[in-house]
Symmetry: C2
Subunit: 433 residues, 2 copies
Amino acid sequence: MSVVKGLKCVNCGKEHSAGLIYNCQKCGDILSVEYDYEQLLRINTKAIFRRKQGLWKYKEFLPITDYSKVVSLDEGGTSLHKCNKLARRMGIEELYLKDETRNPTGSFKDRPASVAVSKALEFNAKTLVIASTGNAAASAAAYAAKAGTKCVVIIPERVPTSKISQILTYGALVVKVKGAFSNAYELARNASQKYGWCNVTTVMMSNPYQVEGDKTVSYEICEQMRWKVPDWIAIPIGAGPLLVGVWKGFVEFRKLGLIEKLPSMIGVQVESCEPIVKAFRDGKSIVEPWPLEPKTVAGGVADPLRGYTQDGSLTLKVIRESNGLAASVSDQEVLEAVMDLGRNEGVLAEPTGAVAVAGVKKLIEEGKIPRDEVVVCLVTGHGLKDMGPVANLFKDPPTIEPDVEALKTCLARALRGRTLSEGHFNKGGPWRH
Amino acid sequence: MSVVKGLKCVNCGKEHSAGLIYNCQKCGDILSVEYDYEQLLRINTKAIFRRKQGLWKYKEFLPITDYSKVVSLDEGGTSLHKCNKLARRMGIEELYLKDETRNPTGSFKDRPASVAVSKALEFNAKTLVIASTGNAAASAAAYAAKAGTKCVVIIPERVPTSKISQILTYGALVVKVKGAFSNAYELARNASQKYGWCNVTTVMMSNPYQVEGDKTVSYEICEQMRWKVPDWIAIPIGAGPLLVGVWKGFVEFRKLGLIEKLPSMIGVQVESCEPIVKAFRDGKSIVEPWPLEPKTVAGGVADPLRGYTQDGSLTLKVIRESNGLAASVSDQEVLEAVMDLGRNEGVLAEPTGAVAVAGVKKLIEEGKIPRDEVVVCLVTGHGLKDMGPVANLFKDPPTIEPDVEALKTCLARALRGRTLSEGHFNKGGPWRH
């Protein structure tokens, strides 16, 4: 049973039926899926929560009407790690990681992909198109492979090779486009219009259904924390669909009486591309496109928003509505967060995936997050997706003869550093322990 | 409640108490953990199966006595995918993948690591040592990080850089050793003896506890297939602890009356290093060390067994006992299997992880697996761990202007191949579709 009422414009409020529409036909802004909450209130949620973990356990809250069309690789149902060591290191009492690295293709993008590709099949789409800087394309390609649907992937020139190989192995057709991401974004829109391909780009202006996948993150957090909502949820943001989706999930669960309060949302960007943070700081309500070409180790959040600043403005609105915060971090802080996650918690994040952790560390130091409040950081992508920037920090390990004495000498040398593995770092490595 | 009776030698039968012992103190062979099955029979297994999925739901069947020492990153509880398209492609009716890529560090080795590191903490070990070709070291390093224990990793010279960076990010001390894996293996043994470090090398001759982690794979398969045991379980094998562990799990569940039959075990190696397959083919019961230095895209199974052929002989014994099969595949067949998994099922395997799929394909073609029998293939490691060999197959995607016409021209060129993405392959790519 689906209880979707339709699509509603977040700007002008115009209502549309839940068809293959990408944005508001009146004002062009973002559409949001509306549900019949009266009907949802009558659902036996206890039965839902007893189901096996994973995104589709919440199918009644997702915009699918024909469940036979669902394409799943067992996305979602990811771990929530209580991180005592990292909490101590940051000087905070209670810190959790929502570990989205555990999704099938290694990033949270499998959630929106599972919903968007399933919905595309409902619309009888034969070919999907997506513009992406890497992770969303890998997800779309994987779900298209599982579904047996064609997938055209349009990426900007500078995407890490490991991500491209991943997309190609799923059998998608990959084309690189000159210039910034906005070029890829525009081309996907145009090709979708011209050839009737279903556009599954994870920009809110491009597809109103994918955000519904993102919101299952908050459903899971509610369950995993036994309905005690954390004070803060920190998320790496480019355009911010994940943050908007996660917020929507909490709002819905409060509407249904499942939780009593809402968290404050923290959006974290990188200093070299911080359009949403800038608008937040300047007290603006409209986000301006970022004028520069971003250069950062965290490519997944470096989004200048050219062509869809509406996404940024909606994300900003949600942050404010939630009494949240926006912050940006340097590349060095991001790489420190990657190392903090690995060494203290055994969690391997790609640089983009560690951006929220870096932001929370900074906000605690600045006194903006009280030390006795509960924080959940989303770790959005697996380190194996982009080991380049981290690999650069390390020296090649020493090669020795297979001999205990040689091992002892080698260890003694390494142990001259303050920690066991300090000896591994290139001189001038970016942190002190 | 733990029901461990002790450790028993698989060769001479000598019994030992379940302490920090690595192999039989009488004959030097492999030790196996023995349980009090009378007591296990009295356990309320229904309550166990209702628990949240993951390795530690089966804690009563694992050799831990102090549960406060358990180190977990939510390993196990991995997906079982029913693969209709791949089954059709292989000409078989029912095929499943047990998707071990979904473990925290990206391989099944997180299961033995979680058990071995927890057990090491029970023994109050302050430093762990492991010899590994990559994946087991990444797992040990991650669990050591979570536990706050030191970890010394000894690897042979030729391990992919991405795997080394992963291990270093978890904060382990990594040393490369000249020569083959056996050198690293011996050095870990010697260092363990000399310095009192706990050896968590995942060779059965090195640590009797880690195999217990592997056996949870079969517990999960039993639950996921609703207690209908498949006819065949295919597993990539080097020394074979995973195969031995999985078999042990099925045998235990039959002892407890939870399942009625046992599967036949298939061990798959690569042609350039097939000591167990050779002994199987030659009708021998003792596996000989492989004389050559293996060169293959599937480094994780290329194990010459020098110094611990007992592991190979036990694996061989299990294969025979189960009325199973042993087969080896070429590098080309392995890479074809990687592509088959990606394109048909949206599952990204590293070459080593796809070895079982390649073997099953071959055995079906040879008529050794009847087409109406049910097969489960273990996919042991995530593709992102080792994208090099697959990346080499692809041409760099074409770069175009951001223009619908340019996209059309480019697609038309690619589509001249027989499938959408054929245009991506280097000339002389290894397969035909």
